[in-house]
């Protein structure tokens, strides 16, 4: 019996889709059977992040409304044999599926897959309710910004109200330099405020932009620091104890010396 994990945030643009794609791909790279499901109907993106946009024939609305079988609506990934994507519909709106339909799809997928990763739309309306309908647990993504943390707090409250207590936090786009200078809230600052369990911290990394351009999740890039952070998250989901990685970029002696003189 598989597990349904919803990736949510409240605020848009904090990295939900990137996180869902990387966790799903990372789990598949560990040999798990994974289905990624995009519930952001009308604004689908998981397909382009995964580089599977040219294979879409059916979408979640077609599955929900019985226009195709579940298997037909699952797009096979090009990298891993046991990784599938169920894309959102682009030309319909959030009310095209119901909570019951999403729950039914999740329950059917749980029979076959180890993990079902649900990418949730921004906001707290029907799309959010649909996304969490079949979920067993939740991951909340946020950035070290006042607006994103505030929305994360709201989402945590709503998740609890819908029976998804104890969500785990992914803190995305952390810039260690700014944290060190006192211009960005640290992991501890945010955990103090939100008071939930930390699943992982992703450094702000150019490789995310590049990998999204290519449609190749960063988690597969062995050189990328963000990729390493996602690989650690995947291991934690699988139950391994992995210490938080050191986000500081190793600096040479000369760079440190320059800093000393510059005084920052």
């Amino acid at each position: 019996m598989g597990e349904v994990i919803v990736v949510t945030s409240g605020k848009g643009g904090v990295g939900k889709t990137t996180t869902a794609a990387n966790i799903g791909t990372g789990l598949a790279a560990q040999g798990k059977r994974v289905v990624l499901m995009d519930t952001d109907i009308g604004l689908r993106n998981l397909d382009v992040v995964m580089g599977l946009e040219n294979r879409i024939v059916y979408d979640i609305v077609d599955i929900a409304q019985g226009h195709c079988k579940l298997k037909q609506g699952m797009i096979k990934d090009k990298r891993f044999p046991e990784l599938y994507l169920i894309p959102a519909a682009q030309t319909k709106d959030k009310t095209a599926v119901t909570e019951e339909q999403v729950r039914a799809i999740c329950n059917e997928l749980k029979q076959e897959a180890d993990y079902i990763i649900v990418d949730c739309p921004a906001g707290i309306e029907q799309g959010f309710k649909n996304a969490i309908a079949g979920a067993d647990r939740a991951i909340v993504v946020t950035n070290p910004e006042v607006s994103a943390v505030r929305d994360a707090d709201r989402i945590i409250g709503l998740l609890e109200a819908h029976g998804l207590g104890n969500p785990q936090l992914v803190l995305n786009r952390v810039r260690p330099n700014m944290v060190r200078q006192g211009d960005m809230m640290s992991v501890d600052d945010i955990l103090e405020i939100l008071a939930i369990k930390l699943l992982g911290v992703i450094p702000d990394d150019d490789s995310i932009v590049i990998s999204t351009n290519r449609g190749e999740p960063t988690v597969l890039d062995q050189q990328s620091r963000a990729g390493q952070a996602y690989r650690n998250i995947v291991k934690r989901i699988l139950g391994e104890e992995v210490p938080l990685m050191n986000l500081e970029v190793e600096e040479g002696f000369f760079a440190r010396l320059m800093k000393l003189f510059k005084g920052n």
């Binding site: 910004e145 200078q181 405020i193």
Partner: protein
């Protein structure tokens, strides 16, 4: 450099501390807010309890959350018509 020195001598707060303080204040308010459904529950419970002790116009019972001096206040206004003399005894 200037801002660094300012910080060093305590002239200016780190922007992250500012963010944290603002966030904490905002969240106090956010977390104290009640949904309309919860307010309705509270109203019904209040009516049930208070009507054991006094007679009043239920329609006139007014329940509100308000902000006052950085505190969240629950304001309840009940126009009482008469007190039940032997209630609760």
């Amino acid at each position: 450099m200037a801002s660094f020195l300012q910080r060093l001598f305590g002239g200016e707060k780190n922007s992250k501390d500012l963010a944290k303080d603002r966030l904490k204040l905002v969240l106090i308010h956010d977390r104290a807010s009640m949904s309309p459904a919860m307010m309705e529950h509270l109203r019904r419970d209040l009516i049930e309890v208070i009507s054991r002790y006094m007679d009043f116009d239920e329609a006139a019972l007014d329940v509100q959350m308000a902000e006052q001096d950085n505190m969240t206040m629950l304001e309840v206004n009940i126009p009482v018509s008469s007190v039940k003399r032997n209630a609760g005894v």
